[in-house]
């Protein structure tokens, strides 16, 4: 099986940054890390027949020349699979490698590349290309080459790849229905048992990364502080005049509490799609405690900010919640608010 390898100027032994403008060139056989790749491929009757080497800056400085050069090389060499990199955390190299794989894909040739998960090329191409995750530096070269060789052979033979966690590439984000060997209840209990025993287990649903925020400094002087109410309960004036969405909300609204010492049922309603709103509609204070805040105003704390901020916290994308939090924070800071009471449902 014929393999074509793509390297940048550094791994292609042409020099460092000073050689970053080197135009695309084709060399016979394997070079640099390709030599080891070639050894690994030999066991499967595959070989690196040629290596494309290009300076890191050339693909972005001369994109048309680069692309047509790569395409012509593939048409002349007719590889069974193309391997690009590993690029590790080198951004230009990663982007070029991804482009090389894209061109191969357009010609109907399988391809595989390898780079660190934070390489900018990953977020642009992870759904379309087979990308092997690597260390950030070349310390992981040997592992990367082994995985590249293994996947290159599979791809050259046009064998379908196994799931990402088995075959060692970045997930494409597709869901496929497949039959498991045990029912879900059994799998869940096995995971739980492993967890209780302190053993490792593989979750089936990876949870998103939560970044912790350093707690803000406390309110300096509560007795004089201006505080504001924010709520995700979707309590809005009756009739929802500004049409706050009941779920998947990405917007917030503000309403005036000026002069109000209580929230009259009938004048407010919760339009939240995710909880039973009957209690809140009968007594809005159960989700927005205005009565208690008014009772404590001027004694336990300074004043209640007259604007109340609300959204519907159901199915809200985290990014939207962050944006809304930021926008509301800007309003509150402008108004001299020093602390927030946020009610969640």
């Amino acid at each position: 099986m014929r393999v074509v390898h793509y390297l940048n100027q550094f791994y292609g032994r042409l020099g460092g940054e000073e050689a970053a403008g080197t135009p695309l060139r084709m060399m016979d056989g394997a070079l640099g890390p390709g030599v080891r790749l070639n050894e690994l491929l030999a066991a499967s009757d595959a070989a690196v027949v040629a290596t494309l080497v290009c300076g890191d800056n050339f693909p972005s400085e001369q994109p048309e020349t680069f692309r047509s050069g790569v395409r012509q090389a593939f048409e002349a060499l007719h590889p069974d699979v193309v391997v690009a990199g590993p690029a590790f955390n080198a951004g230009r190299y990663g982007l070029a490698s991804a482009q090389v794989c894209e061109i191969a894909r357009q010609l109907g040739t399988p391809s595989v590349t390898a780079m660190h998960v934070e390489n900018p090329a990953v977020s642009l191409h992870r759904r379309d290309l087979v990308i092997v995750p690597t260390t950030a530096t070349a310390s992981g070269m040997q592992t990367a080459l082994s995985t590249l060789a293994r996947l290159a052979v599979h791809l050259a033979k046009r064998e379908p790849l196994g799931p990402p966690w088995v075959d060692g590439y970045l997930p494409h984000g597709f869901r496929r229905v497949e039959l498991r060997d045990a029912p879900a209840a059994e799998r869940a209990l096995n995971m739980l048992a492993a967890r209780l025993r302190g053993e490792s287990f593989q979750t089936e649903i990876p949870l998103p990364e939560i970044t912790r925020v350093e707690p803000a400094a406390p309110v300096a002087d509560l007795k004089t502080a201006r505080l504001a109410i924010v709520s995700t309960s979707a309590l809005v004036p009756h009739g929802n005049p500004d049409k706050l969405r009941q779920s998947y909300s990405t917007e917030w609204r503000q309403y005036s509490l000026d002069g109000l010492s209580a929230l009259e049922p009938g004048q407010w309603e919760s339009i939240h799609g995710g909880y039973d709103t009957s209690a809140a509609n009968t007594n809005p204070h159960l989700v927005v405690p205005l009565d208690a805040l008014r009772a404590l105003e001027g004694s336990a704390y300074g004043q209640l900010h007259p604007a109340y901020f609300v959204t519907a916290g159901v199915g809200t994308p985290v990014s939207a919640a962050q944006r809304m939090g930021g926008e509301i924070a800007a309003e509150l800071l402008k108004a001299g608010v020093q602390g927030v009471i946020l009610t969640a449902t």
Binding site: P215, A217, P218, L227, V230, P289, I341
Partner: protein, 78 residues
């Protein structure tokens, strides 16, 4: 949202009926609420008792706002 408010320098006391979830997901000051549909009180109580409960919850929130904390902290209504 509470994480973002705190990030901008606004101490935020979150009244939530699911404090472990709130704490896990990045809220720093969390007050235990009663139940999801009514975190700030209990409609099964008579009006006066419910109001007292609400005051205790709000006071816990005020307490949370005025305390210096180094990590996500739960505040129980007294």
């Amino acid at each position: 949202m509470s994480a973002e408010l705190e990030r901008r320098g606004l101490p935020t006391a979150m009244i939530s009926a699911l404090p472990p979830v709130a704490l896990e997901l990045g809220a720093n000051r969390v007050v235990r609420g009663v139940k999801i549909p009514h975190p700030c009180g209990d409609p099964t109580l008579d009006a006066a008792t419910d109001r007292l409960l609400r005051q205790r919850i709000v006071c816990a929130a005020l307490d949370g706002l005025s305390r210096s904390i180094s990590e996500p902290t739960m505040f129980e209504p007294g």
